[in-house]
């Protein structure tokens, strides 16, 4: 991966209402461009340029850093913090600590960082309870475990931690280039930024505005969007994340071994409801170690007075999965009740759970 010189200019990080921040940013970028044509404004206060070309031209990394420092002092009048590392995520961290991470050492540098650099408090706290304190320790977790324990955003951070992604969501201000172009008075047509839902149209903007209105009324988590990922049962495959979360539109529709066939239940419970299965003699039905039922289920009991007769069932279809390194035995069972309702239930650790309703 390419070595980047990250330039952190504290005085430009907070935008002033008089427009001076944007004007200074523009002036700085124009000057940096004279040193390296690939300089870019990552967001206000953070600028980056690839180091290799300028270093060869100006006679070494030190020479480039000296020139950049002088350039920032000239244009903005403040001292920048500089850092060199591979990938934008590491380069910004290097700049904060004013370090030059030699080529090939960025992996070790990233892994040695404290978990706080990922910017998620809950993840940091939980991982620390598990004895994981560094980005490297978090990166070594099985992605499947991370996905089960946390949400999709954590999976994204996990990819950053593993070095599969070289920059982090939120590091880059996607509107900055456009705002700078507007300030320059360039009439050039800027391609509409690839948004949350891919190619954008007027309809998408209207939908965004509508989602904003509901969020203002009900709170940030009120509007959710859905996507599918790999998994066996419909309860595993659905991903519902608050509207506006990063990476919510990634779909993973690869065939999954042992996937429960269509049709899927129109209601899939995010929080499965415990229930009991009873045989004709009213004894509990359990899933035994061979993955079969101890008896034919005749009734389902949701809570003590609520009992429904089962007129048909199919399964169990066993699933053996790893869950936090412990073997986990689960099995799906479909059933139709005398009332005509059809349910999807799951047996897990000798208990039964309602996961879906075909309503």
């Amino acid at each position: 991966m390419e070595q980047l010189l990250a330039v952190w200019v504290e005085s430009l990080a907070l935008e002033q209402p008089d427009g001076s921040t944007l004007r200074d940013t523009l002036a700085l970028l124009d000057s940096l461009d004279a040193l390296c044509p690939f300089s870019e404004g990552v967001r206000l206060g953070l600028y980056a340029l690839p180091l290799r070309g300028p270093s060869r031209f100006f006679g070494g990394d030190e020479a480039v850093m000296r020139l950049v420092r002088e350039c920032v002092l000239d244009v903005v009048g403040t001292e920048p913090k500089l850092g060199v590392a591979e990938g934008l995520f590491c380069a910004e961290l290097a700049a904060q600590r004013e370090l030059v991470v030699p080529l090939g050492s960025s992996e070790a540098f990233r892994r040695a960082q404290p978990l706080e650099v990922l910017g998620r408090k809950d993840l940091t706290t939980t991982c620390q309870r598990l004895g994981l304190h560094t980005v490297g320790a978090f990166a070594d977790l099985d992605p499947a475990r991370v996905g089960e324990r946390f949400n999709r955003h954590a999976l994204y951070l996990h990819r950053v931690a593993r070095g599969e992604l070289s920059e982090m969501e939120g590091q880059r201000d996607l509107r900055l280039a456009r705002r700078l172009a507007q300030l320059r008075g360039e009439e050039e047509f800027f391609e509409e930024q690839q948004g949350f839902f891919g190619q954008r149209g007027a309809g998408d903007d209207r939908a965004d505005a509508a989602a904003h209105r509901v969020r203002r009324r009900l709170g940030a988590e009120a509007v959710v969007v859905a996507s599918l990922r790999g998994g066996r049962g419909p309860e595993d495959r659905a991903t519902l994340v608050p509207w506006g979360s990063p990476q919510a539109n990634v779909r993973d529709l690869a065939p999954w071994p042992g996937q429960l066939a269509a049709p899927s239940p129109a209601t899939t419970l995010a929080h499965p409801v415990p229930l009991q299965l009873r045989d004709a003699a009213n004894r509990p039905v359990v899933l035994n170690t061979r993955g079969t039922l101890s008896a034919e289920p005749a009734a389902v009991i949701f809570s003590s007075p609520l009992r429904r007769e089962i007129i048909w069932h199919a399964g169990p279809w066993p699933l053996v999965e790893r869950w936090w390194s412990r073997h986990r035995r689960r099995a799906h069972l479909q059933m139709v009740l005398a009332s005509g309702e059809a349910l999807l239930v799951v047996a897990e650790s000798s208990r039964w759970w309602l996961v879906g309703i075909y309503d």
């Binding site: 509508a210 209105r213 009900l218 419909p234 495959r237 659905a238 479909q334 309503d359």
Partner: protein, 219 residues
Amino acid sequence: MFAFSPPRPSLSPELLAHVRPVSLAKSRTVPLGEPWRSFVPGGALRRGSTVVVEAPVGLGGLSLALSLLSEASALGHWAAVVGVDDPGVVAMVELGVDLRRVLFVPRPRGAWAESAADLLDGVDLLLVRPPSRAAHGAARRLMDRVRERGTVLIALSEPRAPWPLPADLFFRVTQAEWVASSRLDARYLTVHVSGRGEAARGAEHVVVVPNRRGRAEAN
């Protein structure tokens, strides 16, 4: 300022159904997929109309209502689903809904009608399941706004908590029967379709929702 401002003209409901702001000028209907297309006048959902889907609990009402979204969604229209607390996302994909253009408000708490109204300008189809019996006034206001904005409202209700006002289209599930082999294969729904205008006479149809692939199809 003007000494007086003229009052906004009040338009007749018939006229309201046909006028809409210029900026929102668009087709007067939202496409409807099979098998429903052949059961409704014009073979599509009229913008500004209210569709009520009524089914006893657990007997296919949600699947039916979601299947009404699929064609439009696949063709690029936005939809919102309000008050369906645990949407079966996989089932929606099987029905043909494009999740990239669906907003969910699973738990609007007491504000289902307000949330629905908030979403009206942003989506072409709005599926709502009121948490309990919808109040007459709230339903009236929502339907009026739907008519103004040219959205299609799909209200999902139960016989014991019916939608309080007559709908432009009314789908009533009267019977549901599962066909199963080694697993659940298909559900045959008997649906009575009625409504206003051409649909007033009403007719009963048997449809398969879902079939073995999770889709809706004619019997």
